[in-house]
Each structure stands twice: as structure tokens, then as C-alpha cells.
């Protein structure tokens, strides 16, 4: 019904708008975007905007009874069990979260894309082998595997990033596998084959460009998963090790005291939630804008 009528007119094309413009028209995406910018700003400028050194165990950072200081006054968000300024630790913790979010997720995305697209396009024994391997990885309880790996290697920032990448590529691989198989069956790919195009040309000129929006979307959503996984590992004590501040290990260090000093859980917890939420909001909006199969869902 939507097809235009009559003697073959040129269908008036909607003026192509930038992805960013369309993104910025969504209030939720804007909120997410702002949160991300704020976090990146905090991470980059932490040395200048943090009121104290995050590792300083300050003499006046504890009450006379040795308890942490509540929020307000000199220490805006209070202090932790060792008398360190919580705000400063959270600001520096943003660096940990973002570095891991970008590095681990970048690596996971790369592995997932290569495996998913190869398996989806070539099928046959290669595709079957790759997908059986993916099934095997699916059967591992991801967090348990990550804990094992993190316990094996002495956890450092980079090791934690790699561990997260190893358990996190599976989802991307599965999604891109499905998408690639359905793309490979599309008629325009068959048409390319009848023109005599080879695998390399079809893969890079016709399949990958169609996958880019999806890769961007999953890349963005994946950062959120990664941030949560890092926080969880650090909370369990097998992630980023103190004294390097991470939002997860701040809670890990202080949870024994959380009944009397709930802000030590609340503030870093809120930071994790907001950053993960921000990437989820932006990723979801990107999906609506970029992914034609999802268009018109909202």
C-alpha cells in the first residue's frame, strides 16, 4: 500500500539526517550521552578536579572512634574505612571503569565479529566448528569462568580486561552469526555472485558495511555489560586490586561497614549504575536509529 502509484515517478527521498541529529532528538539518549561525557570528563581530569589524593589515608579522615566520616563538610561524599576521601576515589575509579569498558569490550567485539562473521558467511565445517566452540563457551558459567581466570592470573587492570573479553565475546558472535547468515541469503548477495564477485569482495564490500550499525550498537551495549562485570569481579576481590581504586573494589573494601556507613556502598554503586545505564540508553537509541530491522518499534 505504501508503494507510490502512477507512471514511475522518482520517489521523493527523505532528506538523510545525521545519526547524531536523530539521536539527539531522543531525551533518554541525551541523558545517557551527558552521563557518559561527565564520566569521561571525570576520568580524564581526575588529577585536577579531585579534592584529595585518592590514596592518602588522612589523619582527619576518620572520627575519633576510628569510623569513616559521613558525607558533607570537608569530605563531600565522606571517607572510607582507611580515612581516604570517597569522592576522589570515585573520580579516579572512573578511569578504571572506562579503560576496562573500552579495552575489554573492544577486544570482545573484535573476537566476536571475526568469529561470528566467518562462521556465518562460510558455513561448512569451518562455520560448524566455530559455532560449536561458541556453544562450548556458552555452556561455561561466564562469571564463574571469569573468577577462575582472574584467580589464576594475578589480577592487574589489563588481565582483568582480557578475562572479561574472553567471557564476553560470545553474545556478539552469536548475534553477528545470525545476522550474517541472513544477509548471505539475501537476494542482492546472490545477484553479486551471479555477477562473478569473489568471497573477499562480497564480504568486505557488501556484508561488512551492512553489519557496521549492528556492531556499533552491540559495542555500545557491551560496554555496559563490561562495566558491570568489572565491578562484580572487583567486588568479589578477584578484579582490580586495591589500592588502585575501582568502583567495585571500593564497595568490596567497605562492605563490612555498610550498615553504619551506607554511603560507602551507595555512592560507588550509583556511579556503576549510572554509567551502565548511560551506555544502555545510548546503545538502545542507536539501535533504533541505525538498525533498520528494529525501526518503528517505539
Amino acid at each position: 500500500m505504501a508503494d507510490t502509484a502512477g507512471p514511475e515517478p522518482i520517489v521523493a527521498s527523505a532528506r538523510p539526517e545525521g545519526t547524531l541529529t536523530r539521536l539527539m532528538r531522543r531525551p533518554l539518549a541525551v541523558i545517557g550521552f551527558v552521563l557518559i561525557v561527565v564520566t569521561v570528563g571525570a576520568a580524564v581530569f581526575a588529577p585536577w578536579i579531585a579534592p584529595f589524593n585518592p590514596d592518602d589515608q588522612m589523619f582527619d579522615g576518620l572520627t575519633l572512634q576510628g569510623a569513616p566520616m559521613p558525607p558533607g563538610g570537608k569530605f563531600l561524599l565522606g571517607t572510607d574505612l582507611l580515612g581516604r576521601d570517597l569522592l576522589s576515589r570515585i573520580l579516579f575509579g572512573a578511569r578504571t571503569s572506562l579503560i576496562i569498558g573500552l579495552v575489554a569490550n573492544g577486544a570482545a567485539l573484535t573476537i566476536g565479529t571475526v568469529i561470528g562473521v566467518t562462521a556465518g558467511y562460510f558455513r561448512g565445517w569451518l562455520g560448524a566448528a566455530l559455532m560449536r566452540f561458541t556453544d562450548l563457551m556458552m555452556a561455561f558459567p561466564a562469571l564463574l569462568l571469569a573468577i577462575c581466570l582472574a584467580a589464576i592470573f594475578q589480577p592487574s587492570l589489563w588481565i582483568v580486561a582480557m578475562v572479561i573479553a574472553i567471557v564476553n565475546w560470545v553474545q556478539t558472535a552469536r548475534v553477528l552469526y545470525t545476522e550474517t547468515t541472513s544477509l548471505a541469503e539475501r537476494e542482492f548477495i546472490a545477484a553479486e555472485k551471479t555477477l562473478g564477485a569473489g568471497h573477499i569482495r562480497i564480504l568486505f564490500r557488501h556484508i561488512l558495511p551492512h553489519l557496521v550499525p549492528m556492531i556499533i550498537v552491540w559495542g555500545t551495549l557491551g560496554i555496559s555489560t563490561t562495566v558491570l562485570l568489572e565491578a562484580t569481579l572487583s567486588y568479589l576481590g578477584v578484579g582490580v586490586q586495591p589500592p588502585t581504586p575501582s568502583w567495585g573494589n571500593i564497595i568490596f573494601e567497605n562492605q563490612t561497614y555498610f550498615q553504619s556507613a551506607p554511603w560507602l556502598v551507595f555512592f560507588p554503586g550509583a556511579a556503576i549504575l549510572l554509567l551502565a545505564l548511560a551506555f544502555n540508553l545510548v546503545g538502545d537509541a542507536l539501535r533504533d536509529v541505525l538498525d533498520p530491522t528494529q525501526r518503528g518499534r517505539d
Binding site: M1, D3, T4, E8, A190, A191, E192, T194, L195, G196
Partner: protein, 591 residues
């Protein structure tokens, strides 16, 4: 252009069942309200069949949805006019009251029987539900009524159908179920929106005959929405022709076909391909560009614990023919007969056994790249076969780039020339496929297929998705290009009328095998195989004075091409009955 309505619909005469007055339907878009139907008026008497005919975008389907109150609100809604049904204005009726009328006094059947039934409910449950929504029936009574409705539509084994799911039925049977559901409560008005468009021609015949028989038995009025002037001529008492959301002409069916008043109607009727009796020049006798010998394509179905091949789909079985240079050779048949499989095998997209020879070269995995320069393909859906992310100029240049022909400058020149040949302007080279209409996109595909100067172009249902007026122009283009480039066509189609108009020689396929082959004159003027006859007789004739012999109403089903391993289908033997007219002798005759 716009005509005054033949009869003003404003005066409400009580003996009308339905009166549509100055109906306006609009869609809400970012650019404001976009009219889809403008000032449409018509009336319908009890027991009458009114056809609303038009091409895509004419607003005919929107009109039917407006009457049913099924417009996709709030985006699309009635913005003016009245729809009077038995004295009430349906356009003003609240949803609750409309629900009492829907399915009860006005029923509707849709184009796609495949998707119009709920896949997870049995046929019986869906039928009984329709009955129980309007009549206080118990389970047993509803079941009895549902069974009666299935019997009324002459479905085979009606008892068994009740407990089956839609996916277990063929397309024709599903449409019968839809009709059973619609007529179960004996409505006053039945709206049929392209009820046979998705069906094969022989099934279409059965469904049309059934609709007419039911109307005679029950006296239901029918609004038939269709693009097919043949269906209009066969079914309608009166016709409303629509274009661009407006009525351009309304008349009784005979005078409308005999003396169309509006220029649009005239153009539409002129564009409709008609079946003659197969006259025309005899087949050319050139050298063969392509020769298929005993081509068989099977697909394996695996099953069991070890995933061994248990069954095979015999998509094509022992197909042999040759195409001579400069000739249009057509393969016709209904869905699943293997005609598209042959096309795929020919362009190297489907593995086959047997021999395919193109321009003196056998097609093997080793030679497929060279052979592809001589055989190009034009697909059914031009939008799907063009990479939506590439500019059309690059798309047409693609085969030249792949085969390393020319420099970027000379390629650009070639593409420019090709664009002119297919009737497009070369200043459109930098646009994207979605900026073109369906017919233009198919022209782009044709230009791309011509770029390598192939000897054979395989056109797989290439005009089937186009409106008739566009279709006529694309067919004319194909004819002209044949003369100019000396290319041969393998033309694959389900549309007998189109095939008769374009072909030099024709092969009829049934269940993966050729059952009859000959010149256009032999096939259409003197069809011998019972299946060929059935196909030809089934085509609706765009002439209301045409008298058709009464046919049986029972559904006939095509047997499955799925067979156990080691049990290949019996081969038909083709016998020459004179002058190269080949006819299959049994066993391949249909039931």
C-alpha cells in the same frame, strides 16, 4: 484527469446495503496529513458484487479497511465522509458496536492466507472462536457449525482439518479456511482484499469459482478489491476504478470493458496482457546458446540420530532443453514446479547433476566464472537484488569492476550509455536504489545484467511484482533490447498471459519435470498435456462476455516433491508429436 462520479452517491436509497459517501482517509506523517483516499463515493446493493480495481497506491485496500474499521489507527484514520451500513454510519461507531458488526454482518478475507491465520491455534479453534464471538453456541454446536462451514467451502477431509494447524495446509486450503471463517455466520457483506493474488493460477481458479458459488447460494454482497482486470471481468457486476486515492470511473462491468470512459481505465485495460490463441511468427532457428541435458537438482533432508540423508526434494528432475540465440524461451509452471531452480542452476547458484552448456562451454565449478560473463540474471524483486547501500551507478558498474573491464572513466561512460538504453537518465547515477520506483529499479537491474554483454539473460519472474502498466513497459523494453543486443532470454514466469505475449518457445513444468514444450503457437494454440490445458483454462480472461465452462469446485493438491532416498520420481517421457512439439506421456500427469 479526474472524472465526475458516474452516479452521485449522496442520495441514500434504502435498498442499498452499503453507501460510502465522500470518504476521506488520511495518514499522519511528519510532513502533515497525507490523503490516501479522497472523496470516494459508491453504493452497493444486497447480493451484488462490486469490484474496486486499481494499481498499488490507488487506495483500494485502505478503503476496505476503512469500511471494516480496521485502519491502523491513530496513524491512518477517516478524516471525512460517511460509511452507511443499514442506516448506521460505521465511521462514527464506537469500537464496541463495530465489533458486533465485524465478522457477523460484514466479514473480510485477506490477501495472504499464509500469514492471516494464527499459527499456534488449530483451524477448528479459530473457526469456532469466530462463531462463538457472535452467537451463543456451546462447544459441540460451534464445532458442528465450523464443520458445516468447512464443508461449504468444499475442503477435502473437513473433519481432519478441524484439528490441524494452518502450517499443515496448502495456500489454497488456508484461503478456503479463511473463506469458511468469513461465511460461517452468513454475513450480508463479504470484503475480499486481493483474495487470490498470492495463489497459483489453478488454485485461484478454484477459489474464484468457490466464491461465486457461495454468493449464489447465500446471496451475500461482495466487495472485491483487486489489481487483476481478468478477475474483475469474471467476478464483478459493477466496477469502481481507483487511482491515487480517487475514483476515476464507475460503471457496470460490461460497458466498462467495452467502452472505458476515463483515459486511465483505457490505459489500464490496454496494458493488461491478453491471451490470444497462440498466433505469431514461428520459432527462430539459430544456433543454441545454451543447452541443458538431463539437469537434476535435489536437496537433501537429513534426519535420525546420525543425520543421514533420509529424504530428497527433487526440485528439478531430468530437465533438457536448449535456447537458441536471439530467442525468448519461457519456463512456466506454478510455485514449487522447479522453474526457479533451473534458473539458479544455470547461473551457478545451485549444484546440479547433468550437463549445462553455455556458448560452447560446459558449466562446472572451474568454469563458472567464465560462464557467468555469458549468462546474467534479473531477479523478481529489484529492491532485494540491489545492495541498498550502493549508488545505482556503482551497482551497474559492479560487473565491469569485478571482471576488470575498462578504467573508471570508460566504465562510467559504459554505465551512462546503459542507462540511456534502459530508459533512465544518466543524471540519476549517484542516487540510491530506494529513491527509484519499482519499475525503474527493474530497469537498473536490466542495465546491470547487460553490462557484460551476455549471450543469455535469465529473467526469473522479473515483471511479476510490477503493476500492469509498468509491467507492459518493462516487457516492451526487454523486447527492444533483444533486437538491439541479440541476447537470448530464459523467461521464467507463472503468468500465462505474459508468457504468451513475450515467448518464442515455451516449456511447461510440473513437479520438477517438463510436461510439454514447443513453440508459442503449439503450446497456446494446441495444448496437449492435461496440465497445460488446466493452466491455460485457469487464467482469468479480462473480458466480461467470455463464457467459461463450469468446473468442479473441489480442491486439487499438487503432490510433494519430497521423496525417500533411493526412490526417485518416475520420469516423464517426452514424445515429439510433430514439428518439435514435445508432450510428456504418463506417468507425470497430474491427478
Amino acid at each position: 484527469m479526474r472524472q465526475e462520479p458516474v452516479r452521485a452517491g449522496a442520495n441514500v436509497i434504502p435498498d442499498y446495503l452499503l453507501t460510502v459517501e465522500a470518504l476521506n482517509v488520511s495518514a499522519r506523517t511528519e510532513a502533515g496529513l497525507k490523503p490516501l483516499v479522497t472523496d470516494l463515493s459508491f453504493s452497493l446493493r444486497p447480493g451484488e458484487t462490486l469490484a474496486i480495481a486499481g494499481e498499488s497506491g490507488s487506495g483500494k485496500s485502505i478503503t476496505s479497511l476503512a469500511i471494516m474499521g480496521l485502519l491502523p489507527q491513530p496513524a491512518v484514520r477517516v478524516t471525512g465522509g460517511r460509511i452507511l451500513f443499514g442506516g448506521t454510519d460505521l465511521a462514527q461507531l464506537p469500537e464496541r458496536r463495530l465489533r458486533e458488526i465485524r465478522g457477523n454482518r460484514i466479514a473480510m478475507i485477506f490477501q495472504e492466507p499464509m500469514t492471516s491465520l494464527n499459527p499456534v491455534m488449530t483451524v477448528g479453534a479459530q473457526l469456532m472462536e469466530a462463531l462463538q464471538a457472535h452467537a451463543p453456541l456451546g462447544r459441540a454446536e460451534a464445532r458442528a457449525e465450523a464443520l458445516a462451514a468447512l464443508k461449504a467451502v468444499r475442503i477435502s477431509e473437513p473433519e481432519r482439518r478441524l484439528s490441524q494447524y494452518p502450517h499443515e495446509l496448502s495456500g489454497g486450503m488456508r484461503q478456503r479456511v479463511m473463506i469458511a471463517m468469513a461465511i460461517a455466520l452468513k454475513p450480508d457483506l463479504l470484503i475480499a482484499d486481493e483474495p487470490t493474488t498470492a495463489l497459483d493460477v489453478t488454485v485461484q481458479r478454484e477459489v474464484l469459482d468457490l466464491l461465486r458459488a457461495l454468493q449464489r447460494e447465500m446471496g451475500t454482497a461482495i466487495i472485491l478489491i483487486t489489481h487483476d482486470m481478468g478477475v474483475v471481468a469474471e467476478m464483478a457486476d459493477r466496477v469502481v476504478v481507483m487511482q491515487g486515492g480517487r475514483k476515476v470511473e464507475e460503471n457496470a462491468v460490461r460497458p466498462l470493458f467495452a467502452a472505458p470512459a476515463a483515459p486511465y481505465t483505457r490505459a489500464l485495460l490496454d496494458a493488461v496482457p491478453r491471451m490470444g490463441r497462440g498466433e505469431g511468427p514461428a520459432a527462430r532457428s539459430g544456433a543454441a546458446v545454451t543447452r541443458l541435458t538431463e539437469v537434476t537438482v535435489t536437496y537433501d533432508l537429513r534426519g535420525g540420530l546420525l543425520q543421514r540423508v533420509r529424504h530428497r526434494v527433487h526440485a528439478a528432475e531430468g530437465v533438457s532443453f536448449d535456447i537458441r540465440s536471439g530467442e525468448t524461451f519461457s519456463l512456466v509452471g506454478e510455485s514449487g514446479c522447479g522453474k526457479s531452480t533451473i534458473a539458479k542452476a544455470l547461473v551457478g547458484l545451485a549444484p546440479f547433476s547433468g550437463g549445462i552448456e553455455v556458448a560452447g562451454r560446459m558449466l562446472t565449478p572451474a568454469t563458472v566464472d567464465q560462464v557467468r560473463r555469458d549468462v546474467q540474471m534479473v531477479f523478481q524483486d529489484p529492491m532485494a537484488s540491489l545492495d541498498p547501500r550502493m549508488r545505482v551507478g556503482d551497482l551497474v558498474a559492479e560487473p565491469l569492476v569485478i571482471h576488470g573491464i575498462g578504467t573508471p572513466e570508460t566504465r562510467r561512460e559504459t554505465v551512462r550509455a546503459l542507462f540511456h538504453k534502459v530508459g533512465l537518465s544518466s543524471d540519476q547515477l549517484d542516487r540510491y536504489p530506494h529513491e527509484f520506483s519499482g519499475g525503474q529499479r527493474q530497469r537498473i537491474c536490466i542495465a546491470r545484467a547487460l553490462a557484460l554483454r551476455p549471450k543469455l539473460i535469465v529473467a526469473d519472474e522479473s515483471v511479476s511484482a510490477l503493476d500492469v502498466s509498468v509491467q507492459a513497459r518493462v516487457l516492451a523494453l526487454l523486447k527492444a533490447l533483444k533486437e538491439e543486443f541479440g541476447v537470448a532470454y530464459l523467461f521464467i514466469s507463472h503468468d500465462m498471459a505474459v508468457v504468451e505475449n513475450i515467448s518464442d518457445r515455451v516449456a511447461v513444468m510440473y513437479l520438477g519435470q517438463i510436461v510439454e514444450m514447443g513453440t508459442r503457437g503449439q503450446i497456446f494454440g494446441d495444448p496437449r498435456h492435461p496440465y497445460t490445458r488446466r493452466l491455460i483454462e485457469a487464467v482469468p480472461v479480462p473480458d466480461p462476455t467470455h463464457v467459461r465452462s463450469p468446473a468442479p469446485l473441489e480442491a486439487r493438491e499438487i503432490p510433494s516433491p519430497l521423496r525417500a532416498v533411493g526412490d526417485p520420481p518416475p520420469r516423464a517421457r517426452l514424445v515429439d508429436i510433430g514439428a518439435g512439439h514435445l508432450v510428456a506421456m504418463p506417468p507425470a500427469a497430474p491427478g
